[in-house]
């Protein structure tokens, strides 16, 4: 369990259980370094920019964005889908690896799950701010009202979206939180401050670590995990249906649901990789997040990227095979060669070609290159959504409607704001909560195995 001949130890350094607790809880005990405050302020700055953008959007209207009569969805939808994609990583990571009994997930899953929760929160900002009459947004919820027959349109993928995302958010945050309960108890037991003890004590629901606690706890984890596993697939499929059920060339494709789910997992894993490389460097957690962990993620990325490549080529093939002039135009004249070809090629190279470098062990070992490729995948996945949303809208059926799109400072502000929020949440998390699952890591430590 702890060590095999092929894989090597899951965590290095022959640590005792006490050592593990001490090392992982260190950031919580200590005052953070100057870099922490610096990044914190940066994030705050980004948040203020985002707050201004929200204010302008709500106060003046969607007109402050770069949208027009033809391109009615822009950056906000791109960013929404992108964040939702990132929000896939944690849950997919934890649950699929949990189901597959991959023990190496234990040192990564906590942070990945947090990433999920925060990314979903970032994502939901966009569709909410995106609606023209924010104040009437509650119409989209299926609540009993006095409007008689005027209720919801259950045929609309946008309504499915609302349900899927709400469910996913609830399930993934529950999963993340439940996973933390024993660790919160550990912190409670370690702390000397009465206030902290009270807070952590409340947060861990009075966990006492009895067999009964553990018994029920594991059952609960499995149940939530099982339920959430289905949601990983459903949420992005439904986001994909926003596009797939429409009539626009480039959107109207049956391949979209699986294609989107795989894309989401690709971007999520890439984001996990990016973050892990930073975290283990900053918090000196090389013993917990080992090279073999990163190696494993890289291998997964190779596989997922192959699926992505297949999806891209299937799309192109179908457009050609259909011999539909609109499809042909959208894919070959607009995406591959047209005005937006830069975005298309960034997408293709970053998502389908660059990750193939991970076939080589040498490259997998070079963290700098791994880091750069992981960033490229993140950018590439953003461009994938850009290609889908913008190319199809800017040039659809009638050339008279063709219009260009360029985001405004307000839209950039919203995106920046969510970035600030994302990093800020991670910073706070590392300061106040255990970033690696203590009890699970202990479970795979040498001491335990022996």
């Amino acid at each position: 369990m702890y060590n095999t001949a092929i894989r090597g130890p899951l965590i290095k350094g022959d640590k005792t259980i006490h050592q593990i607790t001490e090392e992982i809880c260190q950031p919580i005990d200590r005052r953070p370094g100057y870099w922490w405050y610096f990044v914190f302020l940066l994030c705050l700055g980004a948040l203020i920019y985002g707050g201004w953008a929200v204010y302008i959007t709500v106060h003046e209207g969607i007109g402050t964005w770069g949208l027009n009569n033809s391109v009615t969805w822009g950056w906000c939808i791109i960013n929404f889908v992108w964040w939702i994609g990132i929000g896939h990583a944690g849950t997919a990571f934890s649950i699929f690896l949990l189901v597959l009994e991959q023990k190496w997930r234990t040192s990564i899953n906590r942070a990945a799950e947090l990433m999920t929760v925060v990314a979903v929160i970032c994502a939901v900002h966009f569709p909410i701010l995106h609606i023209g009459r924010l104040w009437d947004g509650f119409f989209i919820l299926p609540y009993p009202n006095t409007r008689g027959p005027l209720w919801l349109n259950f045929n609309s993928p946008l309504f499915w979206d609302v349900l899927a995302i709400c469910t996913y958010f609830m399930a993934s945050s529950l999963f993340w939180y439940v996973g933390m309960i024993p660790d919160l108890a550990t912190i409670r037991d370690r702390t000397t401050s009465k206030i902290k003890r009270a807070i952590y004590g409340f947060l861990c629901f009075g966990w006492i670590g009895s067999s009964r606690d553990w018994f029920r706890y594991e059952k609960l984890s499995w149940i939530i995990g099982g339920l959430t596993a289905a949601l990983v697939v459903s949420v992005h499929s439904i986001v994909a249906m926003d596009f797939a059920t429409s009539v626009l060339p480039g959107w109207h494709t049956t391949i979209f649901p699986p294609y989107f789910v795989v894309g989401a997992i690709l971007s999520g894993f890439a984001m996990v990789l990016t973050l892990m490389i930073i975290i283990r460097k900053v918090y000196k957690l090389n013993d917990y997040i080992t090279d073999s962990h990163l190696n494993a993620i890289c291998k997964i990325l190779v596989f997922i990227s192959l699926i992505m490549g297949t999806a891209y080529s299937t799309e192109l093939f179908m457009a050609w095979y259909s011999n539909n002039e609109y499809e042909m135009f959208t894919f070959f004249h607009n995406r591959v060669t047209g005005e937006y070809n830069t975005a298309f090629w960034i997408m293709l190279i970053s998502n389908a070609i660059l990750p193939q470098l991970f076939w080589f062990k040498k490259i997998r070992k070079k963290l700098a290159i791994v880091f750069i490729i992981s960033l490229c995948i993140n950018i590439g996945m953003w461009f994938e959504r850009y290609v889908i949303v913008i190319t199809s809208l800017t040039k659809d059926y009638f050339p008279s409607n063709w219009a260009d799109y360029r985001p405004t400072t307000v839209e950039v502000g919203l995106f920046t704001g969510t970035f600030g929020f994302f990093v800020l949440c991670i910073l706070l998390f590392f300061k106040y909560l255990p970033m690696i699952s203590l009890y699970e890591v202990k479970g795979v430590s040498k001491y335990k195995s022996n």
Partner: protein
């Protein structure tokens, strides 16, 4: 006193039984009342304090946060008999604005005119309108442009003051034999002409000079020379099989486009017919008319005379009247001459030139082709342009030489639009008295002594005779909004006649027009009934005005001198860049520059709004090294302006065109400093203003973003506008429409086809009739309260028009074929927008309409993304409140034009064409109240009503016998994007071109 008791205790008169002290202590708190006097310290308990505190905080929050609009609504104290709330009244009237005439019905609601409709009873315009007519209703409410009361040296004054000052001045000028001139736009009102006569009786030294900013004095003079008749004849487009136009934009701006469009289309529509007229256009810039021509030849303005001389010579040769050897003319002219000759008497040759010699030559050609009395009718002349440029030239010279004492300006703005406006402005300073009747501020009003603002035409009584024998009345539809007075009344007052203009008109009609008819003859009440009938109909037309079709003798002796002069003028122009000045469809000669609807109307060809520009041919632009939006300096010897370049396919090589009517300096908040004034490039030749010149172009480094509503001009081979040629159509009526047939046969669906109960409303649009004039866009804007968004927003491609006209080019960029296609919501039975709306704000009605419920819409814009036609519009801002939009919707006066039957949309909701559902509802309700079946002909959406070409037909597709059902069965009918199976309720009849020689 009798005692009424409430309880036994009370009856028994137990002392204090209902006093507080007697109450159970535990219940006491429920009887506490809030102390009225908080300052009496002791009575304030903690409870009171909290209550008052809570109340005041809540109240303060409410007061501070909920700013509610104060609506000033004043009910009728005494309800006018004819006004019923919610029911519209229609008044027949006439739109008359100097050189434009249209017989109209004015729709009023609760006493406010809100919409203009065409009057089908008119024999001139026959129910058609154009964009300017439709938009004129907004000018009524334009508080920034209209003058709100009389002005003396730009200061406010009263009418009494004006009359007290002006009358003695006029009298003194008269006494010393000084010269008075009334400078007016063409007057087509018989009564007003009579008023002028009366004025002249009092002040015999008065002269009347008509001045038209866009003049037709060339035609008038030419007809004077050729036929001794200074008139513009009637052109019978419907009788012509070949129409050849040399630069005459008769469908867009030339003379009487509404009337001409009606007539032209009669012989272009293919309703059951298998023939249509052939239209050949020679022109410089691509005009609306040129875009509809079957064959079009881009020529330089200087080539026009040569082409005409060649054509004339060829015709002479064919007719055998000439033995001269003709200078070799191009093949197309030879062929054209042969074609014209073969159908003598059924052709029409026109020229838009203002050059007398050219017009004489055109007359000679038409005489040779025996067109007079057949396609050209001198007996019912058009009166709408009577200005003779030479008179204006003389006037300006006299003013400069101080020979004029008083100038009364009516409805013209020479300080802006006269080519030598500086001379006019200088001359104004020399006058003893200058008066302007302009109802709106303009460049001239600020320079005169007295401004006596005229009423808006919707506030006035008037009569008009746009064409001989066709009379029409103007009646007020609202009390004057401002302190204005009819110009005629002012003149009458100064002439010492104490009579209102209304009585004056009646007198005039009784004496002069009543005797022209024989329907009403009763001595006592005959005129009364005649008047009422004329007023109700809006028009009175002499039954057979053409009865006296006199043969007008053509004075052939003027032809040869004219030709000699034309030939002698011919200089080598090959290297020069020639400028052609064109009138704009929207703002016209600049008079409508302050009308935001017209400013935001995309030019039918260039699709530019809110600007004028230099049209350059793409080949020429490549040589000059300029692109769209590059600013160039256009300079002639006298004038120099900077304008952005627009690459215009079809523009003749080495020529440029600039729209007139822009660059107003004093037009109001909307029109000021939009574009540049190009009138000063006009040159005066032989006393006639020529709208062309030789210029130089200098490239600058500046860029100017044009507000374009369409930037891609090719259909890319997509079947958007389908077309065929007449020959092919005769052989196979469904030629060009093979896709539709295939689609009909191959259409299979797993789903049930949509069911419509009762009616299924639809539209049919005849692309052969649609000229692209854009009247429907503005009619729709007026009917449906569509906001104006301004130049900046149009640049962002957010124009709100529900009805847009797409324009495509095909073939070469040097001489493209042009396609116009009106696109509005297609009301798909299988609508993609409907199933994606999460809140069900857009739904299908049982009668086939795609509903949009604004109150339910939350603005996800999913419907807009998913609309394959992109006809949905979004309220990006609160257009009704936004100050920066300069829209009419943010002023109290401007809002009076709103149609109360249509919701004004708030920020953040999507909107689109509803097929004028309010009109459908109105007719349905009416039929129901009258307990009868609805006749679909009762319903006319605004676009259909306004169309001068009758290109749009509304109807019930379920009724097999309806006109629209027939159209849908026509072989030419197709649907846009039918291949994606959205099942639109709008059908298009494909375009047929009459090109017997193929593309030339």
């Amino acid at each position: 006193m009798k005692k009424y008791w409430r309880s036994i205790e009370e009856k028994d008169d137990q002392p204090g039984s209902n006093d507080d002290e007697k109450m159970d202590e535990s219940k006491k708190e429920f009887f506490e009342e809030m102390s009225n006097d908080l300052s009496s310290g002791t009575s304030v308990t903690r409870r009171d304090f909290l209550k008052v505190w809570g109340y005041s905080i809540t109240a303060a929050t409410l007061v501070a946060s909920c700013e509610s609009r104060v609506n000033k609504a004043i009910p009728f104290l005494i309800k006018p008999e004819e006004v019923i709330s919610g029911i519209a009244n229609y008044y027949a009237s006439s739109y008359v604005d100097g050189n434009e005439y249209c017989s109209i019905l004015v729709k009023t609601r609760e006493g406010r005119p809100i919409k203009i409709e065409g009057n089908v009873k008119s024999g001139v315009t026959k129910g058609g309108t154009n964009a300017r007519v439709q938009a004129s209703i907004l000018s009524l409410y334009d508080e920034s442009e209209r003058i709100k009361g009389p002005l003396h040296n730009n200061n406010k004054t009263t009418w009494e003051n004006i009359d007290e000052n002006v009358t003695p001045l006029l009298q003194s000028i008269n006494a010393k034999n000084g010269k008075i001139v009334i400078l007016s736009s063409t007057i087509i009102s018989p009564s007003t002409k009579n008023v002028y006569k009366d004025f002249i009786k009092t002040y015999p030294n008065t002269r009347i000079i008509y001045y038209d900013a866009i003049s037709a004095s060339g035609i008038l003079m030419a007809n004077k020379n050729s036929f001794d008749q200074m008139v513009i004849p009637a052109y019978r487009f419907e009788r012509a099989d070949i129409i050849v136009s040399f630069g005459a934009d008769f469908l867009g701006t030339w003379l009487s486009p509404i009337e001409f469009t009606r007539l032209y289309v009669q012989n272009r529509k293919l309703d059951g017919k298998k023939n249509m007229s052939r239209h050949i256009q020679f022109e410089t810039g691509l005009s609306l008319t040129g875009s509809n021509a079957d064959e079009r030849f881009p020529i330089k303005p200087s080539e026009e005379e040569i082409m005409l001389v060649n054509l004339y010579n060829e015709l002479l040769q064919i007719s055998g009247n000439s033995t001269d050897i003709v200078s070799s003319s191009p093949n197309n002219i030879k062929r054209l001459a042969n074609d014209l000759w073969s159908i003598r008497g059924k052709s029409l040759v026109l020229s838009g030139s203002n050059d007398v010699n050219i017009q004489i030559l055109v007359n000679a050609i038409n005489v040779l082709l025996e067109n007079y009395g057949k396609t050209i009718d001198l007996s019912t002349p058009l009166y709408i342009k009577q200005g003779i440029d030479r008179e204006m030239e003389d006037l300006v010279r006299d003013m400069e030489e101080n020979k004029i004492d008083a100038l009364i300006i009516n409805n013209v703005n020479p300080a802006y639009d006269y080519p030598e406006s500086d001379k006019f402005v200088n001359g104004l300073a020399n006058l003893i008295l200058s008066i302007s009747f302009s109802g709106t501020i303009d460049e001239t009003t600020s320079l005169v002594n007295y401004v006596c603002p005229d009423n808006h035409y919707l506030e006035s009584w008037n009569d008009v005779e746009p064409r001989k024998g066709f009379f029409s009345l103007v009646q007020p539809t609202i009390n004057p909004l401002f302190d204005t007075r009819a110009s005629q009344e002012s003149l009458l007052k100064w002439a010492g006649k104490d009579i209102g203009f209304f009585d004056y008109i009646q007198q005039h009609w009784e004496n002069n027009i009543y005797p022209l008819q024989d329907e009403f003859t009763s001595k006592e009440s005959g005129f009364k009934f005649f008047w009422i009938k004329s007023l109700q109909n809006g028009v009175f037309e002499i039954n057979s005005p053409a009865a006296a079709e006199i043969h007008h003798k053509f004075n052939a002796s003027v032809v040869q001198p004219a030709i000699n002069e034309l030939v002698s003028q011919k200089t080598d122009n090959a290297d020069k860049i020639e400028l052609q000045l064109v009138e704009n469809i929207g703002v016209g000669n600049g008079k409508h520059a302050n009308n935001p609807w017209l400013q935001e109307l995309p030019d039918p060809i260039s699709k530019v709004c809110w600007d004028n520009y230099v049209s350059v041919s793409p080949r020429h632009a490549a040589e000059l090294g300029v692109e769209n939006g590059d600013v160039v300096i256009v300079s002639s010897t006298l004038e120099q302006i900077e304008l952005p370049v627009l690459l215009q396919p079809g523009q003749a090589y080495k020529t440029i065109s600039i729209p007139l009517g822009y660059g107003r300096k004093n037009a109001g908040k909307v029109g000021n400093n939009i574009g540049k004034n190009a009138f000063r490039f006009c040159k005066i030749k032989d006393g006639n203003i020529q709208y062309k010149n030789d210029i130089k172009l200098i490239k600058t480094n500046k860029k100017h973003l044009l507000a374009l509503t369409q930037t891609y001009n090719s259909m890319l081979g997509r079947p958007i506008v389908r077309e065929t040629t007449l020959d092919q159509y005769i052989r196979n009526p469904s030629s060009g429409n093979e896709m539709h047939e295939k689609q009909q046969k191959g259409s299979v669906s797993l789903y049930k086809s949509p069911v419509h109960i009762g009616n299924h409303w639809g539209l049919s649009i005849d692309l052969n009739a649609c000229t692209g004039c854009s009247a429907c866009s503005i009619a729709c804007q007026a009917e449906n309260n569509i906001p104006v968004i301004g130049k900046e927003e149009v640049r962002k491609r957010r124009i709100m028009h529900w009805m847009r006209i797409d324009r495509y080019y095909s073939d070469s960029v040097d001489n493209p074929q042009v396609y116009h296609i009106p696109i509005m919501c297609q009301h798909c039975a299988n609508a993609p927008c409907e199933n994606v709306c999460p809140v069900a704000a857009t739904m299908h009605s049982h009668d086939g309409l795609n509903h949009q419920s604004y109150n339910r819409c939350i603005g996800t814009r999913y419907c807009m993304s998913n609309c394959p036609y992109k006809v949905r519009r979004f309220n990006w801002y609160a257009y009704t409140e936004a100050e920066k939009m300069d829209s009419y919707l943010n002023s109290d006066y401007g809002r009076m034009v709103l149609n109360p039957d249509v919701i004004v949309r708030s920020r953040g909701v999507a909107e689109k064409c509803s097929l004028c559902i309010q009109r459908i509802q109105e007719s349905e309700t009416k039929a129901k109240l009258e307990n009868r079946l609805l006749n679909e002909d009762e319903i006319q959406p605004a676009c259909m009503q306004s169309c001068p070409a009758n290109a749009i037909l509304f109807g019930n597709l379920k009724n097999e016998n309806s006109n629209i059902a027939k159209k849908f069965k026509d072989e030419r009918n197709y649907h846009l994007l039918e291949e994606i199976h959205v099942l639109p309720s709008v059908g298009y009849l494909l375009k047929v071109r009459n090109q017997p020689y193929g593309r030339t």
